[in-house]
Amino acid sequence: MNPRINIDVEHRSNVAVVKVAGEVDLYSSPELRKAILSQAEKRPSRLVVDLSGVQYMDSSGVATLVEGLQKLEQNGGELVLCGLGDMVQEVFKLTRLDSVFQILPSLEEALAEESAGA
């Protein structure tokens, strides 16, 4: 459907993992939004968004993640980001959202953290 982005969803116990690859812009972010919000509705205790395949993200992508974060927190869950490349990291720094999100280097760490916290 949308050749700019590829989204895979996995479940590990009560953790949902949304793996994103490609370019997240005004064209593709609605697809990311749909995936994140449909997972948020299932009220997982933790939603991990793995951005390691994302080479590009604009403010519509960031807005989508903020919306997801707020939805999860409303339901007492948490949203964790991992695998941010240089470009994505810069966008978070510029918008000062690097202090608002829980950001971990890799998916392994995002999952390990969960079991440690459990």
């Binding site: 700019r4 370019e23 812009d25 005004l26 064209y27 590009y56 604009d58 403010s59 519509s60 960031v62 807005a63 989508t64 903020v66 919306e67 707020q70 240089d86 470009m87 810069e90 966008v91 720094k93 510029l94 918008t95 000062r96 959202l97 608002v100």
Partner: protein
């Protein structure tokens, strides 16, 4: 298409429909022209994001989401600076609304103007066009201040 004899040998012009699908085309043209002038990946990322945000704003605000309106993108790449001019025929910008939101007020959206201003050295909304908007964005290579760090 306009006619004129010889043209600026460092400029390209692009006309795209106001459809988000075409944002990737603008990014690709920026990538190729910047590479041509030896701009590094970080500078290119900055300019690309700023231009993309500005195009997204034209689509969402000037054209209210209509996908079949024209956006002209003129890119002039020199060794020392890149200059991008965006032109649309949509609703005129209300300068009072052109404000970045308070970054502490975390909410989805409201980040485009902030990103554009942080990433570019000159951001000029030319409000003198009889119809539509003209935005001129300039970034100089290895500029002194680096607000993104």
């Amino acid at each position: 298409m306009t006619r004129s004899d010889h043209i600026d040998p460092n400029s390209v012009e692009l006309l795209i429909p106001s459809d988000p699908r075409f944002l990737a085309v603008v990014r690709a043209v920026l990538r190729e022209t910047a590479e041509m002038q030896g701009w590094d990946a970080r500078e290119l990322r900055a300019v690309t994001l700023a231009v993309d945000e500005a195009c997204s704003n034209i689509i969402r605000h000037s054209y209210k989401g209509r996908a079949d309106m024209p956006i002209w993108v003129k890119i002039r790449t020199l060794q020392g600076e890149i200059r991008v001019e965006l032109r649309d025929l949509g609703e005129k910008i209300d300068p009072a609304k052109l404000r970045p939101r308070d970054l502490d007020d975390v909410r989805p959206g409201g980040l485009g103007i902030h990103l554009i201003r942080s990433l570019m050295d000159e951001v000029t909304y030319d409000l003198s066009e009889p119809e539509g908007n003209r935005l001129i964005l300039v970034r100089k290579k290895s500029r002194q201040h680096e607000p993104e760090d």
